[in-house]
Amino acid sequence: MRKFKGHVLVTGTAKGAALVLPEPLSLWGGLNPKSGEIIDRRHPCSGQIVTGRVLVLPAGRGSSSASSILLEAVRMKTAPAAILLAEPDGILALGAVVASELYDNAPPVVVLKAQDYAQINDHDIVQIDSDGTISVTISTN
């Protein structure tokens, strides 16, 4: 198991299988909050389901409506379990902050150092603690 500490944008605890996006994703136009599916058809992970996964992505991108999509995904229970970023993204963090105001439920959002970020692979089991400690169990598949 690998352990490292990230910078917490929105606190919380979560555990799930990693879904690693090789490219940034705008949730607006990129995620269907009804199904949890990635619907940006130019994105390499188009068609994947984020629900319950630990979403690992370099950055958000594009539209400022991404926070709304994340909030709606929380309401519809299709949101990722947590969001791990390589760069801070205020728009994603905001969606999580408002989700905790309205629904008392938000995926934690944590920014990782480049060398830690690179160590997480698809399907690794990732646990996030409220202080930003990330524990990664390498997937054998």
Partner: protein, 420 residues
């Protein structure tokens, strides 16, 4: 860094200005801590994206603020909603969603926001001024305000935009501060033919290329003509903010914070230099299409919302090449421009030619297009980027002339001299 609040900020947080202001300040201070802000600062204008329906949760948020007595304290405009409120029959979604979408828009009006419902507030009356601190949402408006006008806003989104308008405050971070507006990546245009540098078709493509390379860094473009128009900068920014998180670009000799190379980089050097050739532009143009040239079912213009100047270019083209009856031709704009079209008799001419003009909203944020599926052709980098995911259309990008002539034929028409 610890966040220092003013006595008035503290009072808002303590609920002395009502429940809604308290919630707004609580969200703002949480975000200020996330951003590592030392303090909050005053804003003079706000532009709100939250009025666009994305789901019931956004309506719950807005109505919670209204119930808590929320009123904006600075002049505040509204971005597009999901409904054309002047022509609600344009909406093709369910009655339930239509009702929630309308309620969302009305909730923001109840808080004192001006119902202009446009993604181009910068082409309206309340244009931000150079150096002015503002809190704007809507990615294309943000990049335009920062880059073309020299106003100062971060990439605000739904929720925090209205929190800023209700409190008049934002975290003092990012592009609000002079030192963070320095260019980071240089895009050097190399051997781009002069006819292309003056053609509108260049700008969405160049923006799309720059956004994809820049992500959230500040790009600087070298090689644009000093007479580059406002609508061209608007198209460039909208595309760059679709393929990347670009909130500010500089164009040397064109935009107000970049009279010279030294101004753009605050006396320093770029972190990266990217050369842009005609081949790079052709490749970026091709990435805007999801299918090869063929039949076209829909032509959509007006993302960002069409300006009077853009309509002036469209009118003679439509007169010469009216759309084929099987092709749906839609142009999105705002109420003020629409009223101007009516007055000049242009609206009637467009309608007689079979062109539908939509206000308050746009085709990629809400179900307005009648055709079920197929290929949508556009001159907008933003439409081309978002249409496949949001409304399930394949997209083809072309110049305004290519779009109009393709609509007339029902299949793609190309001007082969454009990218030669």
């Amino acid at each position: 860094m610890t966040l220092q609040l003013s006595p008035k900020d503290e009072a808002m947080l303590a609920g002395e200005f009502g429940e809604a202001t308290r919630m707004a300040m609580r969200i703002l201070t949480t975000m200020a801590e996330i951003y590592g802000a030392a303090h909050l600062l005053d804003i003079e204008l706000a532009h709100i994206d939250g009025c666009l329906y994305h789901g019931y949760s956004g309506l719950e948020f807005a109505e919670k603020l209204v119930a808590g007595g929320a009123q904006v304290v600075v002049p505040t405009t509204l971005n597009v909603g999901a409904m054309d409120l002047l022509h609600p029959e344009n909406f093709q979604g369910t009655a339930q969603v239509g009702e929630w979408a309308t309620r969302t828009m009305k909730a923001y009006e109840a808080m004192g926001c001006q119902p202009i419902y446009t993604c181009t507030p910068y082409q309206m009356t309340q244009r931000p001024t150079f150096g002015q601190q503002i809190a704007w949402a809507e990615s294309n408006a943000i990049v335009f305000a920062n880059s073309a006008l020299g106003a100062r806003t971060n990439r605000y989104g739904d929720f925090i935009d209205i929190c800023a308008a209700i409190t008049g405050r934002v975290p003092a971070v990012g592009l609000h501060l002079e030192e963070n507006r320095r260019g980071q990546i240089l895009f050097r245009l190399q051997n781009i033919p002069d006819h292309l540098l003056t053609d509108d078709v260049l700008f969405p493509v160049l923006g799309y290329l720059i956004g994809a390379h820049s992500r959230s860094r500040i790009p600087v473009i070298e090689g644009l003509r000093p007479d580059t128009t406002e609508d061209q900068l608007k198209a460039l920014g909208a595309a760059a903010a679709s393929s990347g998180a670009v909130a500010l670009f500089h164009a040397i000799g064109v935009t107000p914070e970049a009279e010279t190379f030294a101004d753009a980089f605050h006396g320093g050097q770029p972190e990266d230099i990217i050369t842009v050739t005609l081949d790079d532009l052709r490749a970026a143009r091709d990435r805007l299409a999801t299918v090869p040239d063929g039949a076209v079912q829909v032509v959509a213009l007006g993302s960002p919302h069409f300006s009077p100047q853009e309509f002036a270019q469209l009118m003679p083209l439509i007169a010469q090449y009216p759309p084929h009856p099987d092709v749906e031709f839609v142009v999105c704009t705002n109420r003020v421009v629409y009223a101007g079209l009516e007055k000049r008799g242009w609206l009637e001419q467009l309608q007689n030619a079979g062109v539908r003009v939509i206000v308050d909203t746009c085709v990629v944020v809400t179900p307005i297009v009648h055709s079920n599926k197929g290929t949508l052709m556009t001159n907008s980098g933003k439409f081309a980027h978002y249409a496949p995911g949001n409304i399930g259309f394949q997209t083809i990008f072309g110049s305004l002339m290519e779009c109009v002539r393709s609509a007339a034929l029902g299949h793609v028409w190309r001007d082969n001299s454009l990218w030669a």
